[in-house]
Subunit: 486 residues, 2 copies
């Protein structure tokens, strides 16, 4: 298992390099290198010898609980993997590498047509993959389950349906109020100083630079090659301070989770993250519940003002706090406020569902996309760059991934409420920049368990109940009522 | 063969990352990842299926010359590889990763004792490896042959013996002359500007940044993940302009060679470099025959003066040219002048020879080293950092490597003389900064052939005779007679 992990992590190094430092002419060669490593790790994992060992170990009764868990989860993964033929894995990986580059090119020029042929190839492969994996009910369930075990169209339809109306009501109320002025964030913030501030921010919030790094990439992401080597990336827009800052804190949340996974379980399921929605709960918790809180900036804002005296010297913390929580329907998911965010996910979820069931085709995407943004958020999409080309995921073959973003935010609210209950001093500590209080709590209650519990098990163990959207709605409604004076 | 290359190149990415960007806590994890990839590529290459295919292909007569060459070289490699058991490869790779880190730590503090245990382990492994490989005559021959096919103690003793005396005579003459003043190179040259100059230099000399990059590392090196992705590294000393500049041009020479290898032969022997001494001939040719020539700086010096007006504005090109060719026995091989350089190699060669035959032990190295520097170069080594810890190679397990450095310089002189004969405009073109003339010639006569010819075959094909040290001695004697007015 650990040797397979070595290969998977090597693959992750190649992919990290591809998105940060690799020169452009190397696409072809890198695509085949990535494909070969994918295929090899797939071969090793689906090897009969390993299977027999796992089945035999699974029969032994007097093992420790953690050992049993590692075995049963490995068996589950094995069974999932063996559903997919090695040649298909190689094909998928090869298309993924080429597809990523074509997405980069398409996004640069905002021309969906450049990406379309490879995306169509990808969608066809994903349908084939769903057939290999098997599913009950909707074909999309096969893909959803890859990212969030047990997630189904039925379950997600319910969650999205139940948040849609209360969110709409809150947004309607906000829209009757005068818009927040966030022009202070849209001044010129030089690249170099933003970079320094982001590095300082990461250090203050507890990212261990001896076990990780930050670099620049087209699309921010987190990857890890062990819990002792966690790489996060960011991007910088000189005319929008928020673009870098909250994506940086977001990736920090992912990074802290990865650094907190037990390194003694290297390569084994218990050394892995619980699920993508739990991963996202960590990034969203840091990004929003911490990173967009008044308490956090009571500490950070004076630091920030020192870095940017010209831009922010005359801004009050109150107006800064309002600016960073401005609610406004917008085009880009990763820059969206906490409320409209979920509509970005819902649109994507519906789109992928329709794509998988064949109700729409790849060449329909731009038109469908723009139509939905009009319908849900009442905004016009000026071009595909700010529309359906904005996210990297499809180029990676990640279909069924987006719902975990919303689930993550919902879990984050529930977990943060629990942390506040258990740690009466939490808010004051954050005001003092003592982020370690929260980090230690997350390490103890979430990170250290790795993949021992499912999302729901972990949520019940930690908060006494399964996912409950009321925590998010209460948090959102209180926070924004205060900000907008509702 | 190409899938094996994918693995080897993936391994190279991991190693590049380890020496450029990897955070320190990741050493253990990276060591095992590197070991697993090494072992896998070894397994794949020594697989019976591949062997049978190669033997069968080798029997077919009506193949093209290049195909035959690819097969026979693959068979040679196969036979070399199968001499070494997979478990040994894994062990060696694991020790190598740990050893590299301990060298970094030892070098930082100048404390050989930190490196000693791992170096001792490495030397023991190297002796074992020599036994696996087999050899006639001296045990060191087994290791020398790994880096330069056919190289032996007998052959190298002869080469080193024949250059030693004429070099000594030239050095003696120089020592009667007043020393060159190179203080102009030792002013303060800010890091950022040096970096910019080095990037500009690489572009001007023909490095393709769409198929490669330059980064910073402890010890400069070149690696490649295909001829479309060639990575070079450099280091910067703010108080010594020469430290960065000629190591940058040196790695450029390696990099240009790698970028010139035929990408159509990806993963096959003909897509690889001819030999390490030919590789080194390319780096030394650019570093010295071009990079320390008057012609080159007639073009570059005005550019350089613009980058560093304070430091160099008042320096004449004549005194700059003398400064960059100052001959003086010194401590660090990579910073040595062209003449004393060979004594650094000779000392190392003698040391490794003695280490392998057991005439000295690992704990004798610092004392032996310092003694030899006194004997050959009449200098006192103030500490191991500037002594036996200066080079990374032993930590990589590279024993038998250093002689290729001298061979490279000797080949470089012979090749450059041939280029000058064939290209009457060469000197003028260099004066005009038209380095493409030389690069195209090297591409045509050396790079494009990959590993088709051995060092000697290539040398004969190109210059009409095998390695002849007279070219180097004539070049050196003319150049330094002019500089020192002998």
């Amino acid at each position: 298992m650990q040797k397979i992990a070595d290969l998977r992590y090597a693959l992750a190094v190649l992919q990290w390099d591809q998105e940060t430092y690799m020169p452009p002419k190397s696409n072809e060669a890198r695509a085949r290198q990535v494909a070969t490593l994918s295929e090899l790790s797939h071969q090793m994992f689906t090897d009969d010898g390993l299977k027999n060992l796992l089945y035999e170990l699974n029969k032994i009764n007097d093992l420790q609980e953690d050992e049993k868990k590692n075995i049963s989860l490995s068996l589950y993964d094995y069974e999932q993997q063996t559903k997919i033929p090695g040649e298909f894995v190689r094909k998928l990986s090869e298309v993924t590498s080429r597809s990523f580059q074509s997405w980069v090119d398409a996004r640069k020029t905002g021309n969906f047509k450049i990406f379309e042929p490879l995306l169509a190839e990808m969608v066809a492969l994903k349908k084939q993959e769903a057939d290999y994996l098997g599913y009950e009910g909707h074909i999309y369930n096969a893909l959803l389950n890859q990212y969030e075990r047990g997630a189904t169209v039925q379950m997600l339809d319910r969650v999205f349906h139940s948040i849609q109306q209360p969110l709409k009501n809150l947004l309607d109320k906000i829209s009757t109020k005068p818009p927040v002025d966030d022009s202070t964030l849209l001044k010129h913030f030089p690249r170099e100083q933003q970079w320094k501030f982001s590095m300082d921010l990461l250090k203050k919030m507890g990212f261990d630079f001896n076990a990780g790094r930050q670099d620049i990439s087209e699309h921010p992401f987190t990857t890890s090659f062990s819990s002792t080597d966690v790489r996060i990336t960011t991007r910088i827009d000189e005319n929008d301070f928020g673009n870098m800052t909250w994506s940086c804190i977001h990736e920090l949340g992912h990074g802290l989770y990865e650094q907190g996974l037990p390194s003694s379980e290297y390569g084994l399921p218990l050394g892995e993250y619980a699920s993508l929605s739990i991963h996202e709960s960590q990034s969203r918790l840091w990004e929003n519940n911490v990173g967009r809180s008044l308490a956090c900036w009571q500490f950070l804002f004076p630091v920030l003002q020192q870095s940017f005296p010209e831009q922010l010297g005359k801004t009050s913390i109150e107006s800064f706090y309002k600016a960073i929580n401005k609610v406004q329907p917008s085009l880009i998911r990763t820059e969206a406020d906490e409320l409209t965010y979920h509509f970005h996910v819902i649109i994507r979820y519906e789109l992928e569902k329709k794509l998988m069931e064949g109700a729409i085709q790849v060449n329909d995407i731009p038109a469908y996309w723009n139509e939905q943004y009009k319908k849900y958020l009442d905004i016009d999409v000026p071009g595909d760059k700010q529309g359906c080309l904005q996210d990297v995921h499809w180029s990676h073959g990640s279909f069924g991934y987006f719902p975990t973003y919303s689930l993550g935010s919902l879990y984050a609210a529930q977990f943060f409420k629990e942390a506040s209950n258990q740690l009466p001093e939490l808010n004051v500590d954050i005001q003092k920049g003592q982020f370690q209080t929260l980090l230690s709590w997350l390490r103890e209650h979430i990170h250290q368990y790795g993949r021992k519990y499912t999302s729901e098990e972990l949520c019940v163990k930690l908060t006494g109940e399964p996912l409950n959207i009321e925590y998010f709605m209460k948090y959102a409604s209180e926070k924004y009522s205060q900000i907008y004076g509702l």
